[in-house]
Symmetry: C2
Subunit: 453 residues, 2 copies
Amino acid sequence: MKVCKFGGTSLADANQIRKVCNIIVSDSERRLVVVSAPGKRFDSDIKVTDMLIKCAKLAIAENNYNSNLDEVISRYAQIADDLGVPDIMNEISADFTKRLIKDTDNVKFMDRVISAGEDNCAKLVTAYLKSIGYDSNYIHPGQAGMLLSADFSNTVVLDQSYEKLAKLKNIKGIGVFPGFFGYSLKGDIVTFPRGGSDITGAILAASVKAEVYENFTDVDYVYSVNPKIIKNPKPITEITYREMRELSYAGFNVYQEDALLPVYKAGVPVNIKNVNNPTCPGTMIVKNRVHTNSPVIGVASDDKFCCIAINKYLMNREVGFGRRVLGIIEDEGLNFEHMPTGIDDISVILRESQLSDDAKDRLIEHITTELRADSINVEKNLCLIMVVGEGMSHNVGIAARATKALASVKVNIQMFTQGSSEVSMVFATSKADCEKALKALYEEFFEVRLGND
Amino acid sequence: MKVCKFGGTSLADANQIRKVCNIIVSDSERRLVVVSAPGKRFDSDIKVTDMLIKCAKLAIAENNYNSNLDEVISRYAQIADDLGVPDIMNEISADFTKRLIKDTDNVKFMDRVISAGEDNCAKLVTAYLKSIGYDSNYIHPGQAGMLLSADFSNTVVLDQSYEKLAKLKNIKGIGVFPGFFGYSLKGDIVTFPRGGSDITGAILAASVKAEVYENFTDVDYVYSVNPKIIKNPKPITEITYREMRELSYAGFNVYQEDALLPVYKAGVPVNIKNVNNPTCPGTMIVKNRVHTNSPVIGVASDDKFCCIAINKYLMNREVGFGRRVLGIIEDEGLNFEHMPTGIDDISVILRESQLSDDAKDRLIEHITTELRADSINVEKNLCLIMVVGEGMSHNVGIAARATKALASVKVNIQMFTQGSSEVSMVFATSKADCEKALKALYEEFFEVRLGND
């Protein structure tokens, strides 16, 4: 059994849905299908989910949302007509209308409304598959056992779901499962963060112990570097869960980072495939991969970090200094990424978005008064660059090649840490140097070099 | 006014003391002199302080210490005879005898006995200087105001000492001050850690705002690398306090690390000089130094570290994970050196001597149960190598040169951190690779290279 997930652009109109259904029926193992809500048909188009958010906000503000609701319904009606399944619209239209009656609190209401995009898309796809002669069934997430925590708009799966959902292994025909949401133990609809259909698919794949979780997107492969920065970068045919996690973390948006855990634990491989080019083998995310000449599999960057540098003479004599610094950071509700230390220095690197000017001032105040630091400097606009690859830490010379490549383009390394993760090394540079650094590292590790060295 | 400090080997016998006194009287600014206890005259000799420790231990165990005490007294008597000041022995002999009467608790008793070496050496040197016609005075640390915390054998100076000791600026003639000890507020003798005469000198130099603190040892210079590992290494003529501190920390034993703080705060330069070659300018420790071509001033290593590597999937999502790891480390009374972090990994590097097998087991138990880590590995026999130099962090390419040098001799870098300290970068390697790594780095940064890079 294969679990397949299709994203919003793959379901944006009737033509796309036909393409998706052709892919589904071309392999009889594709028996559990997760769908998103219809996405953009063209650049300036609006995703159904965004249209629903607008409806919900109008309803919460007690404004008239009828014309907005009509737009959503007519979007579905158009697709249903084009697919030749207009009858399904009675059910879909009634569902949207009913969900928008504001009879509960705002957070519950919002999750209930925005999940309607996926839910009704699943009904549409089911109807179409039936219409072309396939045994197809819409699966109700609540009845199937997709039980989630009551953290509205940011839920996580409850452990007991896996056992319940495992029964889907025995479904007849093709099951169509709406992505992005599930039910709390109290029976409320709760949604994952945006992009959560990847997570739904991963949970299902893990539950039924699928032979593979096919995640259809609009790229042929995951690439070794961001294709927006380097043209035609080297595709990755095989990558480990750990490598993929490090790259996702550092800005690779192909596959939702949270969607790795269920498949990683269950050992289900993930295949990133292109809905527009389904015969391309795509990228396989696996437990162990065949090693090639270079242990480096990808280079990624993310440029929204800042650094709090604290200096105090004889700091290393004070038992607990580092712990107290992190305690103060935590009191502000901040999460740190790295903490490089010198003898009398400690730096804390964290995502800049977390640190408002107020929080920054409070932090400096706390560290000054509680820890009596000699100096504190906050440096913004830092870029973290990760060089990722399994077993890299045991390969003599990777650090040398990376630092040499950065020096050759005169990029100043503001921080460099290697050693805790076996899968990556991290450089911090100024935001201004970020692209130059990424290019230099890509060239060093991926471009065929002629001549010596 | 110059403050001079002379170590034990410089005061080991009458000839050495004559040499020291010639140095003192050759410069009329040398008016405050700190002396250690007589050290070794030859390799198999025993230092006076070690002889006194033995006496004290015998007394504590209520064993007969008379022959041991006689040895100490005859050592002083020999020197006094050779210097032509036998009369001083009445006072010295009585003092040793009196101190060894066990009338207090063990820790107080120990400090009182072992400080006698310095105290009586100061009396000896004073008597000799007088005998050769100089106005010379023994200074009683308690009366002069060397007030210390009541942490026996590991004391620190109390802030109020500086003001009291500042009056020494106005002493007549040459003041001879015994190193290594002072008095608690209750009037008990308390000692610094071994090598504490460096600290006494630094406190005096800071108190009187000396133009320079001359620290006489038996080497011409501080060298850029340990001369036991690299033959004839490049001498350091000028080094900043911060650089010296990093090198002292990493195993440079020329100058006691704790002795930097008082002079650093007071801005008094330190001159490391050779008692056997006093015309050699030696090494100046200053606030700012003239920069040469390479920002690297020294390379040091210390091989007694271990690493606790903790892995947990999705660790970076857990606010407070790092703080809790450090809290557990602290509960065990351990002090950490570095904490490199990956996304799902955190490593804590600490001095191996701190971590008994019991402590290790408890630590693993705590981390496993409290933090539910997926895996914990303790790696012993780690060596930390520091490359030190002011302004290094802003010099593009130093990291590249260092990592390349290490790769060229196939040294695997287990951890590398740069960025928090502006003065150093730190590599961790296995103990087995330590010497090889140090040599490669020394060659890279200090040996004249012919030809291209």
